[in-house]
């Protein structure tokens, strides 16, 4: 297998995690097949990003143009198509994200999406992806072709790995036409106080075990450090410690997070029956609390002992 392309995903001047994850996986495939790992960086005023990438790839191809300054699927698509037909990579990796989904479907190369694993078997590419909301894995094969595209599910591959020496940065100049039929207008940051727990990947959910309204802030801080959204059981809403839209359960909301951290929640059926999917970590001091019947991981301990330590640990990590 020849060259492997990784399309770099970045937003507002920062490289997104999926990029590092794809670079790790891409490196593994490149090593096995003796190919080269190439990072494709498209954007505007992104030279500093190229510097960061060069430690992880054999080559960084940079296309810099003002028209690429905000992500626009259609412009990116054209550039990507050009690069693919010019460099003929054996495989292009794109994130299965709001960014990648805008692009990937347009290409007429053999493509499969949302993969959780990739491997080379006798030189042929095989992909593993999940179906039925993660209940079944499917092994996908491709018809013979010189080039494939795969979109990769975020948070599946590790983002950290060995550094692979300094590659080369190449600045390309491509003529890029103005696109008039799709225009970026703006980004909207999530408004403070406006939350949608049904869409969150990580939920940090607090129950009556928290004891007092003033302790909620401690859980809110933890949630923020985890990049999660704060949720709760109904008694917390009844007491007006948190607003109704945070309530998980039969008379609240049905949630589908990837990770659910239940803190001081007993695990009543009305609560847990509306957590669909994902891994549950429960912190509860009662070893017989029903939440442990559905949790994947349990910590049987006072939450006031666990949460502060976890919080400071996360702070340490964030501080680098």
């Amino acid at each position: 297998m020849g060259r492997i392309f990784v399309l770099i995903e970045h937003r507002k001047g920062a490289i997104r995690d999926i990029t590092w994850e794809m670079l790790i996986k891409g490196r593994e495939l490149a090593l096995r097949s003796g190919g080269e790992l190439t990072a494709l960086l498209l954007g505007y005023q992104i030279r500093n990003l190229a510097e960061k990438l060069v430690q992880r790839a054999d080559e960084v191809l940079v296309v810099e143009d003002e028209k690429l300054s905000n992500f626009n699927g259609e412009i990116y698509q054209r550039v990507l198509s050009k690069l693919i037909s010019e460099y003929k990579p054996a495989l292009t990796l794109i994130g299965h994200t709001s960014f990648g989904m805008e692009l990937a479907g347009q290409l007429e190369l053999p493509i499969t999406t949302d993969c959780i694993d990739l491997c080379l078997e006798n030189g042929a590419l095989k992909a593993v992806r999940q179906m039925y909301t993660g209940k079944v894995n499917a092994e996908i094969s491709f018809i013979g072709a010189p080039s494939y595209i795969v979109t990769v599910r975020p948070d599946v591959f590790p983002a950290e790995g060995q550094q692979t020496g300094r590659g080369e940065i190449k600045y390309l100049s491509l003529p890029i036409e103005e696109i008039k039929y799709k225009k970026f207008i703006e980004y909207i940051e999530p408004a403070v106080g406006e939350v949608d727990i049904t869409r969150a990947d990580i939920l940090v959910s607090v129950g009556q075990g928290i004891g007092d309204k003033k302790n909620i802030s401690m859980i809110a801080e933890l949630s923020e450090l985890m990049g999660g959204v704060l949720a709760c059981s109904r008694p917390i809403v009844d007491k007006k410690w948190l607003p109704k839209e945070r309530q998980v359960g039969l008379s609240g909301k049905t949630v589908k997070p990837k990770l659910y951290l239940a803190i001081g929640i007993s695990g009543a059926f009305q609560h847990i029956s509306q957590i669909k999917g994902g891994h549950i970590i429960a912190i509860n001091k009662d070893p017989r609390a029903p939440i442990f019947g559905v949790a994947d991981y349990g910590i049987v301990e006072d939450l006031f002992k666990i949460v502060p330590v976890l919080t400071s640990k996360l702070k340490e990590i964030k501080a680098g």
Binding site: Q106, Q130, T133, N137, A138, I143, K183, G227, H279
Partner: protein, 301 residues
């Protein structure tokens, strides 16, 4: 894979390299006038098994799951797409046509579309469609839609069963029109739409897109109405048009497995999630483990 090497291969084509064709092509399809605010909408709906609480078994050929005992429903995002289409029709005037690909069973979900307010329903069906990949599904839909008049095509962002999340954007590519994925807000302007896209971490992106266009709808864009049994009974006799391979003017090689670039080799169950693992109750050790789980399972740095 070897079994297919030497098979058909479509060379990469530069998307949208022929801008002019795009523009002239669009005018034919769209009924959109500069002054009028009428939108004709096509919405694609898929019937999927509701597997949320079910134990899934894999069929003997290892390429399908056993469907007996499963309950079927309209794909989740598609319910939102239908509601959105009907909402837009109410607001701007126009029509909504629902299309589904599949056997007679999918008429159930087309009838749900009628109840919500879709005007017409079309079902595409043929034995030869079996084994089609997402791009091929899009190709079949394209063949029908090609001849229709519309301003907007709405699909779900991703199906809950196969979950490729590709049909919408592939369809746009085939039609030669623009698209936006993961849409959580639509406003029709003069000849274009202003749409909100859902990005990770609660962020939104606002883009303007020229009509006609394909939008793939994400859950949460609206609150889909309940479809009541009595309302369903009232539309039980409403006509659903049915078209097959021939009716669409397609050839067998274009569809099904032979028309597809990818195929499912085998299905297997992911390793069983074990019983609950009890983490150490020492706060330091527990925290270390939680951080590791966070990293492994999808969160954090």
């Amino acid at each position: 894979m070897d079994r297919k090497s030497g098979g058909k291969y479509k060379s990469p084509r530069l998307a949208f390299s022929e801008c002019d064709i795009f523009f002239s092509g669009s005018a034919e399809h769209s009924s959109f006038s500069n002054t009028g605010a009428i939108v004709d909408i096509i919405v694609c709906v898929k019937r999927v098994p509701d597997t949320a609480g079910a134990t899934i078994e894999i069929a003997d050929d290892a390429r399908r799951i056993r469907e007996d005992g499963l309950v079927f429903d309209m794909n989740d995002c598609d319910k939102y797409a239908v509601e959105e289409a009907v909402g837009l029709k109410k607001k701007y005037g126009g029509s909504v046509t629902a299309i589904a690909l599949g056997t007679e069973d999918v008429e159930d979900i087309l009838r749900m579309c009628f109840v919500t307010g879709c005007d017409e329903g079309i079902r595409l069906t043929d034995k030869a469609f079996q084994g089609s990949d997402a791009v091929t599904i899009a190709r079949i839909l394209h063949r029908l839609i090609q001849s229709m008049k519309f301003d907007l095509i709405l699909t779900g962002a991703q199906a809950t069963d196969d979950g490729y999340g590709q049909v919408g954007s592939a369809l746009a590519e085939l039609m030669g029109i623009s698209h936006a994925t993961l849409v959580i807000g639509i406003e029709i302007l003069d000849g274009k739409a202003r749409v909100h896209r859902e990005l990770e971490g609660g962020m939104e992106e606002v883009v303007e897109i020229r009509l006609p266009a394909v939008l793939t709808i994400q859950t949460g864009i609206n609150i889909p109405r309940y479809v009541s049994i009595r309302a369903l009974m009232k539309v039980a006799q409403k006509e659903i048009k049915v078209l097959d391979l021939k009716g669409l003017g397609m050839r067998e090689e274009e569809v099904g497995e032979s028309g597809s670039n990818t195929s499912i080799e085998r299905l297997f169950l992911p390793p069983l999630t074990k019983e609950m693992e009890i983490l150490p109750s020492d706060p330091g050790e527990a925290a270390t483990r939680v951080v590791k789980i966070l990293k492994d399972k999808g969160g954090l740095v």
